[in-house]
């Protein structure tokens, strides 16, 4: 894999202050989901502002796709069209008087044609699930909606890497989960994502890789279970381990659980504790809403009477909404389906595009970690009666 963004011994300090970043080196590979985790004042925001050239390092260099960033006007334009930065405070990011005007801001300044601008804007607004909100004024939106507008504004610029500063801070849990699902969806479509957070739970379950930052230095760059298992490291960084991981470690110490792969989510944990299934596990059905119509939808609902329904992805949610079906699971869908499967219940997950494969991937990850087997059946228009 190639590094999309690379920091090479970056040192930076704000005027008259001690060093904010101290000879920082790391690289982010294309297609990864990376979380920068650290306590308040660790230098997370400084690091992110360095990614799009807002701050210029005192020494060291930032490399985009292997080329050092140049800080002249055209170099910065190039960098900023590739690296999209979503600020923590969406009030300062969403500055235009309407949703449309705000999302169109980036493409307009990239001097695209009017057609292309309109297409990108409507695509971006659609992708964040705010179709129909184009004319709304930002002060009539909720915090979560404003965050979506901020993300749409960046999406419309089609960046290679999306950098988000504390994307879920000051959002309620369900909205946070939806924003994280949205980021997953974007990731599925090929965007590399780098976000900063001090929410270890979120970082643990979401990220492929953690960059642990404290006092302007990288303590560790590794997969989440490795970083968060290290108690000493966590203390040093003034963070707590994720509850799930701590619980697992304690249960291993007590000899209740075997020392195997630490559980990534609730389903793995449940499976670990339970040991084996008493009941027959339920089946997870997946449906690609892009390839079906409403007639097939009602056919599915007719055939599978006792089942739970989950919806993943904006297009699928919209599809179900238009068909008047309200899904039970709208966020954390696969995990909830796995939990349902373990108590013998079936779930139909309506999803679309590359996310269909993500269900398979998540389930096989679960199967690997817990040596269970759960059937995933994809429903096509001609297999509905199986």
């Amino acid at each position: 894999m190639s590094a999309i963004l690379q920091f090479d011994s970056i040192t930076f300090s704000y005027p008259g202050r001690p060093k904010s970043l101290d000879s920082l080196s790391f690289q982010i590979e294309r297609g990864k989901k990376v979380a920068v985790v650290g306590p308040n004042g660790a230098g997370k925001t400084t690091l992110l502002l360095m990614c799009n050239g807002t701050l210029v390092p005192d020494s060291g260099s930032v490399l985009l796709n292997g080329d050092p960033v140049s800080y002249d006007k055209s170099g910065l334009r190039k960098l900023r069209s590739k690296v999209g930065l979503v600020f923590q405070n969406s009030d300062s990011q969403v500055f235009a008087p309407s949703v449309f005007a705000d999302v169109a801001f980036g493409p307009l300044n990239l001097h695209l044609s009017e057609e292309e601008i309109n297409e990108r804007v409507s695509d971006a607004i659609f992708a964040v699930g705010l179709s129909g909100y184009e004319k709304r004024v930002p002060h009539h939106l909720s915090g979560g909606e404003r965050k979506r507008v901020a993300i749409a504004g960046i999406l419309a610029m089609k960046p290679d890497i999306l950098v988000a500063d504390e994307p879920t801070s000051s959002l309620d849990p369900a909205t946070s989960a939806e924003i994280m699902d949205l980021l997953d969806e974007l990731h599925e479509e090929g965007t590399t994502i780098l976000l900063s957070t001090h929410d270890v739970e979120l970082a643990y379950s979401w990220a492929d890789e953690i960059i642990l930052l404290a006092d302007g230095r990288i303590l560790r760059q590794a997969p989440p279970e490795e970083v968060f298992s290290d108690r000493e490291l966590m203390n040093q960084a003034r963070l707590t381990s994720p509850v799930l991981l701590t619980l697992y470690q304690e249960l291993v110490k007590l000899g209740v659980l075997k020392d195997t792969v630490p559980p990534k989510g609730i389903p793995e944990m449940t499976r670990l504790i339970e040991g084996s299934f008493d009941t027959n596990p339920g089946t997870i059905y997946t449906v690609d809403t892009d390839s079906i119509d409403e007639a097939f939808l009602s056919e599915i609902l007719q055939t599978h009477k006792s089942r739970r329904i989950g919806a993943m992805g904006t297009r699928s949610k919209k599809f179900l909404y238009n068909a008047g079906v309200s899904p039970e699971f709208t966020y954390g869908v696969v995990d909830k389906a796995l939990l349902a499967a373990m108590i013998g219940e079936d779930t139909i997950i309506f999803t679309c595009g590359g996310m269909v494969e993500r269900v398979d991937l998540r389930v096989s990850m679960f199967e690997e970690a817990s040596a269970a087997s759960i059937q995933v059946v994809k429903l096509y228009p001609n297999t509905a009666n199986h």
């Binding site: 807002t54 334009r77 300062s92 008087p97 307009l108 300044n109 004319k135 004024v137 002060h139």
Partner: protein, 268 residues
């Protein structure tokens, strides 16, 4: 203390809300702007009270009946300019002269405090003009959200920089009202605004804090604009309006009547 749930002009975005949900929102903003400006100019230019009074009454009618603005809200909106207009009119009534004396009160040094025919006419005229002008301005304000005026500004070839600034200012009015309310609440719960002196002190803190916040927010906006490759372009809000022949006919026949009345006043 007034009841909090009462909607007055002091609640942060009530005027904008009324305009956004106005039944006349879809009428082209340019047309409403022409109506407002033309009616105001005719009302203010009129030498007699009849045209401005006519404009005022018809505009009140249009705002309350056609645009369905709640009566209490409209009244509270109208209170401020009318109070100014009324006090101006009262002063003019006593301190200008000319024509025959109607009522004479007393003499003060060389000034006679009295009401004359001319002073009565002038004060009534000023009051009527205020009413006419304000009512037509309010008609625009309650039917046209700010966002739909930006495109009209551009058509009028107002400099783009000016429009961009207006859009940013418009957006952040609401953000800063929110900030001000936040600071104010934080002060009140810790005993701010108790007593006159304390009140002045607390208010000065609020204003200075708001200034600092504004400054910081300005920095943040600049950062975020640059992060999206700011190059001097800002998109205008998308506005769709339904062009109805009916509304054009209504506006221009109304303006026609005003011009006729105006001409009649000038001749008579």
């Amino acid at each position: 203390m007034k009841k909090n749930n009462q909607r007055t002009i002091f609640s942060e975005d009530v005027l904008d809300d009324v305009a956004t949900s106005s039944p006349l929102r879809s009428v082209p903003a340019g047309l409403k702007l022409i109506l407002c400006l033309a009616a105001t100019v005719i009302a203010v230019a009129s030498p007699e009270i009849w045209v401005p009074l006519f404009v005022g009454i018809t505009m009140i009618f249009a705002s309350l009946v056609l645009a369905k603005v709640p009566f209490r809200l409209y009244l509270s909106l109208l209170t401020i300019p009318l109070a100014f207009g009324l006090s101006g009119a009262v002063i003019l009534l006593f301190f200008t002269g000319g024509g025959e004396t109607l009522v004479s009160f007393f003499s003060f040094c060389v000034y006679d405090i009295q009401i004359t025919t001319d002073s009565l006419h002038l004060s009534l005229l000023v009051f009527a003009r205020t009413l006419g002008g304000m009512c037509s301005l309010y008609f625009l304000a309650v039917t046209t959200p700010m966002t739909s005026l930006f495109a009209v500004f551009q058509k009028l070839h107002i400099p783009q920089e000016f429009i961009d600034l207006t859009m940013l200012i418009y957006r952040y009015i609401f953000v800063f009202i929110g900030e001000a309310i936040g600071i104010h609440n934080a002060q009140v719960i810790r005993g701010g605004y108790q007593g006159w002196k304390n009140g002045i002190y607390a208010f000065s803190m609020l204003v200075s804090m708001l200034f600092v916040r504004t400054w910081e927010r300005g920095d943040e906006i600049f950062l975020s604009m640059n992060s999206r490759c700011y190059d001097g372009c800002m998109a205008l809000p998308e506005e769709s309006s339904t062009v109805q022949v009916k509304s054009y006919i209504a506006v221009f026949s109304y303006l026609g009547i005003l011009v006729l009345l105006f001409a009649a006043e000038m001749i008579l």
